[in-house]
Structure formats: C-alpha cells, structure tokens
C-alpha cells in the first residue's frame, strides 16, 4: 500500500510539473497586482463628436470641411508609471470613426498603480511597415496599405472642404512613409489603475491635426498622398501636428 501511495504521489507530481507551463505567468502576477483596462479613443473636432453626415467643421484658420473617413493606426502603446516603470502593450489597432467597436483597445494584465503617461506610435513601426503579408488590423483588406508602394497609410482623412472661392472640393489626406511616423505622448494626471476602473478615454481633436504646431490650409493642400516632392512639408507638418492632437479625457 505504501508503494502504491508513493507511486501515486510521484505520478501526481509529474502531472503537476508537466502541466504548469501555461500557468506560470499567472502565478507570478498575483491577481491583485494586475488589472485589465480599455483604452478608448474618442474622435472629436474641438471636443465635439464627429458626424459623417456632411456636417461642416471649421479648422483654426477658417477652412470649412467635412469628414467621411477618419482612420489611423495606434500601435505599440506604452503606459508609464510615476516611478518610471513601463508597461508595453505591443498592440496594432486601427482607430476608425465609422467602426466604433474598433476604437476600444483592451489592455490585459496591466500592473496596478499610478500612471503618468500613455505613449503610442501613430502609424506602424518600421519592422511591420515593410509588407502587407500580416494579419489583424494590418491585413491589407482594411484599405490602409499602399499597393503601389508597400507600406501602411498611418492616417487617413477623406471628406470635402469649401475653398476660398466658396466651391466645395474634395479633401483627401493619406499620410504615410517612414518620415510620417508619429510618436505621441499623452500626459495622464497620475491616474490610478486599480482594477475597479476599467475605461481610460483619450480624446483626439481633428482640428489640432491641422493647427497644433503649424497650420495646414486646405486651399493649399487638399489632396496629399505622400508621393510628391511638395508632400514632404505636408508630411512633416501633419505628423508634428498629430503628435499634439491627443489628450487625456478621463478614467472611469
């Protein structure tokens, strides 16, 4: 009988050891020290929700414009704690005004504590910007890749605008190329991720994309595809503006 018990213990031990691989991660982070949090991107024009029903918006220099399509990549989110500790989400998300479900990014197992910064890449990192042979939101069927010039469109805004002669003209901005990658840093007021709250909202202000560091006048630039010599200035202006177009709204 002793032998039997011994044998059973040994085998049970085997069973445990051989099956714990998957669980290791979980046991290291005891459940109280991590939390899941949804980061929600709230698309606005100067704080107001954007309509795609041909509503006219006015940017800082007075261009009247509409929004039919507004999409941008938010990838590689990093959350920074007050003590400098970093949480890397390694995410690839496509924010799409017309697909609200896509605008919530779920971060799993974020260590609880006080956070002061949220950083992300507006666009796709260089390692992933070399081929469309990828899945998730990098799948070419999302229409955010150039087929004639392999690489992703980081930011897309299409609609129309009223030019200085009062004519309605198409507005089409496709921002991309290696020079266009934005590094966004959003200041957070020492928010406490504690497992009770679950939703961190970040505002995006489309008007700031056209004015936060330099004005983009649609009378001059209304159709930019990141392919022409003149696009270089537009690329750098829009990228710099976009980096300053995101802000903390709340956590709830």
């Amino acid at each position: 009988m002793k032998n039997l018990i011994f044998c059973a213990i040994i085998l049970a031990g085997f069973l445990l050891v051989s099956c714990t691989k998957e669980e290791t991660k979980q046991t290291n982070n005891n459940t109280a020290s991590v939390a899941n949090i949804n980061v929600v991107f709230n698309n606005t024009v100067s704080g107001m929700a954007i309509n795609t029903d041909n509503t006219n918006y006015t940017n800082a220099i007075g261009n009247k414009y509409t929004v039919d399509i507004l999409k941008y990549y938010v990838t590689n989110i990093v959350l920074e704690k007050e003590n400098g500790a970093l949480f890397y989400a390694k995410n690839y998300n496509l924010i799409d005004l017309n697909e609200t479900l896509q605008n919530t990014i779920s971060l799993k197992n974020v260590p609880t504590g006080k956070y002061t910064k949220l950083r992300f890449i507006l666009g796709v990192d260089s390692a992933r910007n070399t081929s469309g042979l990828q899945d998730g939101y990098l799948d070419p069927s999302y229409g955010m890749i150039w087929t004639w010039n392999t690489g992703y469109i980081f930011f897309k805004h299409e609609g129309n605008f009223t030019n200085s002669a009062n004519q309605v003209k198409p507005l089409r901005f496709h921002l991309g190329t290696e020079a266009a990658r934005g590094f966004v840093e959003v200041w957070l007021p020492e928010i406490n991720i504690n497992g009770i709250n679950s939703k961190l909202t970040i505002d995006f202000d489309l008007n700031k994309a056209y004015s936060s560091t330099s004005n983009i006048d649609f009378n001059v630039d209304n159709d930019r595809q990141s392919t022409e010599e003149v696009d270089r200035f537009w690329i750098s202006n829009l990228k710099n503006n976009l980096e300053k177009s995101f802000s903390y709204k709340n956590i709830e």
């Binding site: 051989s18 998957e22 070399t130």
Partner: protein, 362 residues
C-alpha cells in the same frame, strides 16, 4: 501487481490527456482535406543563383496549384471579367501581347507596359518602380488598382469564401478554409515563383547542348564589349540577365513619369526604372517602361545614339558611352544574340497554362 498496473495505466492516460491541449495531435482521418500540404522544393536551374523562399510562405504542391487557379480566375476582378492572365499571356512571356498599355476592366489604360512574369524568385522589388516590396505584396496591386482589375480585397475574399471549390482548396494548401488576404497573396506568389525560364538556346549553348551561329556569337561578344554594346553592366550575362537595379537609361530629358522617385521621394531616383531581364526579349515587345519602342532595332538605336545625355540621374554606363559606336551590322548581331534568349519550352510549359476546368486539384 495487476492492480498496480491498472492504476498506473489510468494515471498514465490522465497524464497524456491532460497535457495534450497544446501539442499537435495528428488526427487520423480518411478525409484528404486534412492531410498536410506536400512541400515543394523549388530548385534553381543550372547556372542560376540559389533561390531564397521567404520563411512565411514555404511552397507546397497544393499552394502552387491553388495560386495557378487564382492567377487565371477572373473572379479576382470587380466584374469577373479579367484575371491576372488576361494581361500576362504566357505566349508573350507573360506580357500583354503587343499592347503598349493594358486595358483595365473599365477600358481605362495604364501608363506603363505590362511586365513579363518570369524568374521572379530572384527579383528583389516588384513593378517598374519597385513599389511592391515582396512578390506577395505585388499580388494585391493589380487586383485593387482602379485602372486594372478594380476590385476590393473584401469583395475578393467574400467571393472566394462563398465559392464551391476555393474553401476546400485553401484548406488543402494552408490548413484552413477561412480565406484571408494573406493566403490569397501567398498562393498566387507561390505559383508565380515556379514560372522559371532557363531553357533558351543560349542556356543550351552554355550547357554544351547547342551551337550559336557566327552572328549570335559575334552579338554575344558585342554584348560584353564595354566600347560597343556594353549591355552586360546592367543586364548581367547569364542566368537572370539583370542586376535588378533601378536606373535612368536616358529616354527623356524631361520626365513624364518620375519612376522610382514616386516611391522613395529621393531626388536621385527621379527617372529611374527597374532594369528588366532580357530573357525572352523577342516576345515582350513593345519595350521600355512605357512601351515606346516597338522593335528591338529601335531599342538598339536608343542605346547607340538616342539616349539623352542631359537627362537627370542618367546611368553612368550610358553617360560614358560614345554615340554612334555601333554599326548596323553590329546592332543586328546583338539582336541575333538576344533572340537566343527566347525559351519556347517556357512559353509552352503546361504547368504554367490556365488549368482546365475539369482538371483535378488534389
């Protein structure tokens, strides 16, 4: 003892069952759909550089067969009227007959001459301007281009997923019947990599199986003569007949098409286009990125005296060449040599033809 044994066996079974979640279980089934695809080893022909197959798209017999079916399937276009094969005709080394510019499904024409499809396994960038980074990436260009097949990827995927054969064929090739853009790109690229031309008269000559005529041999000499044809600097003699680089060959002093610059926005890339292979050149007329030359005589005359020395970023080998250095006879001899690069076996290879509708895909 029997008791112990039974006990141990029970525990053993539990052990196996409890741990099999993450291991690959080979499902024994008579359904051929579930058998893994057959690996295909693409071998470089004699004298060619080794072929590097991308790790994320290993070739299989089933993947190639599927890619071939897709290549010839007009379902990939908006109105189901055009396939890849519509503008890439095997008879003309997969170019669009003698058309300067191909017509898309709406009847619109492009601005560049359809490129041949051959020996792409060695190419580095695709399209005349190198805009597609990989062969897989190239696949979705013509499908979505409004002046070509004019279809959206979502539509293509929806058509393929609803089709009565494709889900099964994707399952055989890739182990899943849920068709995605990636799998579409992979399958077509796999087929295209098999399209190899390496059995021209010149190849046979290199292997000691054929003789070249006097004019052909003289042409080969001129091809390699820096003071004469000087073709070899860019169209490397043997195997690929190109070094894959991008160059401005002096067609224009004012560019109407900026070529590679459109992709890189580098001043030094203005007017540059891919150096194409010269294999099957006899079959791929008209010539140049915009198909401006109808004959090889016109091409030879361009390199003999037509090139514009004032053209920005002109290739050094052309800038240094003396105008009028070739006699008519010499030009004809070079052309005679170029015609030894015609591969009739290639343009008749049944493996590259449109699959018959009743052809069995395993």
């Amino acid at each position: 003892m029997k008791k112990y044994l039974f006990f141990i066996i029970i525990i053993g079974v539990v052990l196996v069952v409890s741990c099999s979640k993450n291991t690959d279980v080979t499902v024994n089934t008579s359904n051929p759909i579930d058998t893994p695809a057959t690996p295909f080893n693409l071998i470089a022909p004699f004298g060619f550089p080794p072929i590097i197959i991308p790790n994320n798209n290993k070739m299989t017999v089933e993947g190639i067969a599927l890619g071939r079916k897709l290549f010839y399937d007009p379902m990939l276009s908006l109105d189901n009227s055009q396939s890849c094969g519509s503008c890439h005709n095997q008879r003309f080394a997969f170019t669009d007959s003698t058309l300067q510019f191909s017509k898309g499904i709406t009847g619109e024409i492009g601005t560049r001459n359809a490129m041949p499809i051959m020996n792409l396994a060695w190419e580095r960038k695709f399209f005349w301007d190198g805009g597609a980074a990989t062969l897989e990436d190239q696949v979705i260009g013509p499908i979505t281009n409004p002046i070509e097949m004019h279809e959206t990827l979502n539509n293509v995927l929806s058509k393929l997923n609803k089709h009565n054969e494709y889900p099964r064929l994707f399952k055989r090739a890739f182990g899943t019947d849920s068709i995605t853009t990636q799998l579409l790109m992979k399958a077509v690229a796999q087929f295209e990599r098999t399209i190899i031309s390496a059995n021209s008269k010149y190849d046979k000559y290199v292997r000691g199986e054929a003789e070249l005529t006097f004019d052909e041999l003289k042409g080969k000499e001129l091809y390699e003569d820096q003071k004469k044809g000087d073709c070899f600097h860019c169209h490397v003699l043997g195997s690929t007949f190109t070094d894959f680089d991008f160059r401005n060959n002096g067609l224009d002093s004012i560019f109407t098409d900026l070529g590679r610059y459109k992709n890189t926005l580098k001043e030094t890339d203005k007017g540059k286009f891919k150096t194409p292979s010269l294999r099957n050149i006899e079959l791929t007329a008209p010539y140049m990125h915009d198909g401006r030359f109808k004959t090889l005589d016109e091409v030879l005359e361009h390199y003999n005296s037509g090139f514009k020395v004032t053209s920005q970023n002109l290739a050094a080998d052309i800038a240094l060449a003396e105008k009028g250095r070739l006699s008519n006879e010499e030009k004809q001899q070079i052309i005679a040599f170029l015609k030894t690069l015609t591969d009739t076996e290639f343009i008749n290879n049944p493996n590259f033809k449109k699959p018959l509708t009743n052809e069995k895909f395993n």
